[in-house]
């Protein structure tokens, strides 16, 4: 087991190394394609490598593999809230984007970007085939949903949370238990309408946390006026 991990590690650094020394070399294309598969199988992610591959496809459209592009896009969706999905689309020609599976992915991205999680999960249910090939997809989207919720809410109704992460009933209870234990969530009794989940405070759902750092002055700036003060 330990040895295996070591091999994998050196391989990762090999592709990253290729990327660093030879980013504009068409010969690294097969390596990058393999790396995409590896990202899918071992749940790692490298935007730069994927962009590099898309760039090479852009330079030589005849070498493009639709299947690999689809995987890159699913991986990019999982990277939300970062705008990776759009960054990839910028590099994919319009006529390729017209393909059915890409259209679906674009619709999925649209639902996520506009926080319509309910529609998103419905759509995913209809297109299991596209996203199921990439392990960890659901969890990554759930993380994104929690990210958006914690930007927005101090206290979120249980129903809203359930809809966003697409978990209900007993499994939601389990999930909440886990979060209470690990991420500092607190469960409160709401006003008659079931539970309320108190999300941890951050500078985005508690703007007071932000202001402190902004109004300090560095010492080296003060030194400029020492001669005047003295």
């Amino acid at each position: 087991m330990g040895r295996e991990r070591e091999v994998q590690k050196s391989e990762v650094s090999y592709t990253e190394h290729l990327l660093a020394v030879n980013p504009y070399n068409p010969d690294i294309l097969p390596d990058l394609e393999n790396y995409v598969h590896e990202q899918v199988s071992s749940q790692i992610y490298s935007l730069d490598a994927n962009l590099c591959l898309l760039r090479l496809y852009q330079f030589e459209p005849e070498r493009m593999s639709v299947q690999i592009v689809a995987r890159i896009l699913v991986k990019a969706l999982m990277a939300l809230p970062a705008p990776d999905f759009n960054l990839c689309l910028f590099l994919i020609p319009e006529r390729v984007q017209m393909e059915e599976q890409f259209k679906t992915l674009i619709v999925l991205s649209h639902y996520l970007e506009t926080a319509r999680f309910h529609q998103f999960w419905d759509e995913v249910a209809k297109n299991r085939g596209i996203v199921e090939v990439v392990p960890g997809f659901e969890q990554a989207i759930q993380n994104y949903a929690i990210h958006v919720l914690s930007l927005t809410y101090q206290k979120v109704p249980r129903s809203v949370l359930a809809e966003a992460i697409n978990i209900e009933g007993l499994s939601l209870d389990k999930f909440l238990e886990h979060q209470v234990a690990n991420s500092g969530w607190v469960i409160e009794k709401g006003h008659g309408r079931g539970q309320l989940i108190v999300l941890p405070r951050n500078e985005f759902n508690e703007p007071d946390l932000r202001k402190n750092s902004a109004d300090s002055i560095q010492l080296e700036h003060i030194t400029q006026i020492f001669p005047i003060l003295g």
Binding site: P26, Q58, A115, V148, Q154, V156, F204, I225, I228
Partner: protein
């Protein structure tokens, strides 16, 4: 769809260049130009090279080569010892001039690429010992990328290509190949070790930025600075390809928040910030884009009179307009007007004010405006792949642009409802979700998604992976209640006060000096005025004396030899000197320059000594009465008395005038010591950038 015009539409007839153009004819002016330029390059005289390159080359192009190319490189080679590198440099300029003023043929495009390859090969593999102006090195990289972009656009217009052109394109498929272009830029970055140099500079081991890239130890700046500018070139190429993330990554070694070598060449400064801002706009980092656009637009606005002299004036103004359009887009999506400086804001309102008001409505007209502004201001996107020449020929030059535009408008559509949420939130400090939903005429779950969209879209992922808030109005939801938080301006008051304390201190110092100087200046002026009057009086008096003398002498007996009345002449001379010196003094006091003042002081002292000597010798040393023996007058006692009276008056005048002048000199010396008021009282960082600042560097070396 808004019109999207490409500037280099091929005119077949324009390609047949002027029939009268003889590539082998070298006019005398060109000969002198190349000979001098060659000599200065060998002497590493950066200042003169810059003069020749920026000044003379433009002037000659304007005068003699308005619509025809310069003489061919083969024709000028004999004048420069057939120097290989110089010929490459000359040809680089030759092609640049051709691209700027004419439409290049396919053959010329291919040749220009070959020339760039040879030139970069020399820089990469040869040991170049030249020292070239940054402006020129930047122009090389800039033009290289521009010609690549231009070639891609040219190739993409397949419809009206002749068979001959297609055959050429097939044959030379390596020319302007995207791999080639990217690899040359990358090779320049790597070979120059510029990233390491900039790294080491942070630790104080290198002085790249302080020396503006020049090498004062006899080395060459060419590879280093080309490598530096190539990072900007890479940013630009990646933006043209739509790869904003990688573009920004290429630029990352340059700290954009500080001035640096990139900002020392105006064209480079503008290009860098334009692409940096655009990439950030596409990455939804609106605040970053707004901040940088504001900075460069303020810079252009402040120094606009300097740009008018520069050959890149049109380019800069075009980019200026484009960036105002981009700024309008940014501010419509993210209304952080507080970040904008007042003058920039005024300009923005003047240019795009009504458009911005209409863009807030997010109806069809607003989308048309987003479309229009984006199309006007975006870079000229390219499709890097060569077409399939066997398929039917279609134009694909707009494909890349359409894709980027579509993606952008898609983003705008996603943010459609945010502006109305924003306007409602501004009105309340707390509001229930239910009530807000009613106001916005949507149901409650939809409103919750809109609010979350607002949060997601206003919180971008920064370059370091952290979440950055771009929100002007912020809020949080506590169960069913929206709490609105007025975003306080995070203006750095500390910095603001520090800057103004320093400025104020400087102003007070300056005012005290001005007061002192004004006082002395007025005194000097008054003294000089009085002296002028005295001089005039003395002149009139001496003229009157001369007349009296003439009259007196004519009454004397004709036989006697009358000595010359030297004292009158001297007095006359003193009058003239007085007038002139005081007038000169008046003129000098208007000039605020140290050199003029010192010249004046030295001159006036010399005059004073001379004058003093003469007055002393004539009036006091020589016995005037003895020169006019009684025998001459023969009883004309009236005349004699008259004379002896006026001789003593003259003595008095001579002496007093000397004293008065000495007084004025003392005053002037005081003014001189106090020193003229420096015109520029705040050390503005930008100003020196425009005045070809390597001059400063050369002096200090």
């Amino acid at each position: 769809m808004a019109s999207y015009d490409y500037d280099d539409v091929p005119y077949e007839d324009r390609q047949q260049q002027d029939a009268s153009y003889d590539p082998n004819y070298v006019p005398e002016a060109v000969k002198t130009f190349v000979v001098h330029l060659y000599r200065y390059i060998r002497e590493k005289n950066v200042y003169e090279i810059h003069q020749m390159y920026e000044g003379i080359f433009q002037k000659l192009s304007e005068r003699s080569f308005k619509e025809s190319p310069w003489p061919s490189v083969d024709a000028v080679a004999p004048f420069v010892d057939n120097d290989h590198v110089f010929c490459l440099l000359y040809q680089e300029m030759w092609f640049r001039h051709l691209y700027a003023r004419m439409t290049p043929t396919l053959k010329q495009r291919l040749d220009s690429y070959d020339n760039y390859c040879s030139l970069f090969q020399v820089v990469l593999h040869g040991v170049v010992n030249m020292q070239l102006p940054n402006q020129w090195l930047w122009d090389m990289v800039d033009e290289f990328v521009y010609q690549f972009q231009s070639f891609c656009q040219y190739r993409a217009r397949m419809k009206n290509k002749t068979e001959q052109e297609i055959a050429l394109l097939r044959q030379y498929d390596q020319a302007w190949n995207v791999y080639g272009v990217l690899n040359y830029l990358q090779a320049l970055v790597e070979k120059s070790m510029i990233i390491q140099i900039l790294e080491q500079e942070k630790e104080g081991l290198e002085q790249f930025t302080i020396n503006e890239g020049y090498d004062y130890n006899g080395g060459s700046n060419v590879l280093k600075v080309l490598g530096y500018f190539s990072m900007v070139g890479l940013l630009r190429v990646h933006c043209l390809l739509g790869d904003y993330q990688t573009g920004l990554k290429c630029l990352a070694p340059i700290d954009i928040n500080q001035l640096g070598v990139y900002s020392s060449v105006t064209g480079c400064y503008v290009t860098t910030i334009y692409h940096y801002g655009f990439a950030n706009l596409m990455l939804r980092r609106y605040v970053e884009a707004i901040r940088e656009f504001n900075r460069i637009l303020l810079y252009i606005w402040k120094y606009k009179q300097y740009h008018q002299k520069s050959p890149q004036c049109d380019q800069i103004l075009k980019k200026n307009e484009q960036m105002y359009a981009l700024l309008a887009i940014c501010l419509s999506l993210c209304p952080q007007v507080k970040l904008i400086e007042e003058n920039v804001n005024n300009q923005l309102r003047e240019k795009n004010g009504d458009k911005m008001a209409r863009m807030q409505r997010y109806d069809d007209e607003a989308f048309a405006l987003y479309d229009e502004l984006f199309s006007y201001a975006c870079p000229k996107f390219i499709t890097p792949a060569a077409p399939n020449y066997d398929e039917p020929l279609v134009n694909y030059n707009q494909d890349a642009y359409r894709l980027q535009l579509k993606m952008f408008l898609y983003e705008v559509k996603q943010q459609q409802l945010l502006s109305s949420v924003r306007s409602f939130l501004k009105l309340y400090s707390t509001i229930s979700v239910e009530k807000l939903a009613a106001y916005m005429e949507v149901d409650e779950p939809t409103l919750r998604t809109i609010l979350m969209t607002y949060k997601h879209k206003t919180h971008a992922v920064g370059s370091d992976g952290k979440i950055v808030s771009n929100a002007d109005v912020d809020f949080y939801i506590d169960e069913d209640t929206v709490h609105v938080v007025e975003s306080k301006s995070t203006k750095r008051y500390g910095d603001f006060f520090l800057r103004h304390i320093l400025k104020f201190e400087e102003m007070i110092n300056r005012m005290e000096r001005v007061k002192l100087e004004c006082c002395f200046n007025i005194l000097t002026k008054a003294a000089n005025g009085v002296l002028t009057c005295c001089g005039l009086v003395v002149i009139i008096y001496s003229l009157w004396l001369l007349k009296k003398w003439g009259a007196g002498v004519s009454q004397l007996e004709a036989i006697t030899v009358v000595p010359k009345p030297w004292f009158i002449y001297i007095l006359f001379g003193v009058g003239i000197v007085l007038c002139l010196s005081s007038l000169f003094g008046q003129m000098v006091s208007k000039h605020n320059s140290l050199t003029v003042l010192s010249i004046y002081v030295v001159a006036i002292c010399l005059t004073l000594i001379l004058q003093g000597g003469l007055v002393g010798v004539i009036f006091f040393k020589s016995n005037l009465e003895a020169e006019f023996p009684d025998s001459i007058f023969k009883g004309n006692t009236d005349f004699k008395n008259f004379l002896s009276f006026h001789v003593s008056i003259c003595r008095l005048i001579g002496f007093t005038m000397l004293l008065a002048q000495a007084n004025v000199v003392v005053l002037t010396v005081v003014v001189w010591v106090v020193g003229p008021v420096p015109e520029k009282y705040s050390p503005s960082a930008g100003l020196s950038d425009l005045e070809h600042s390597f001059l400063v560097g050369l002096e200090s070396s």
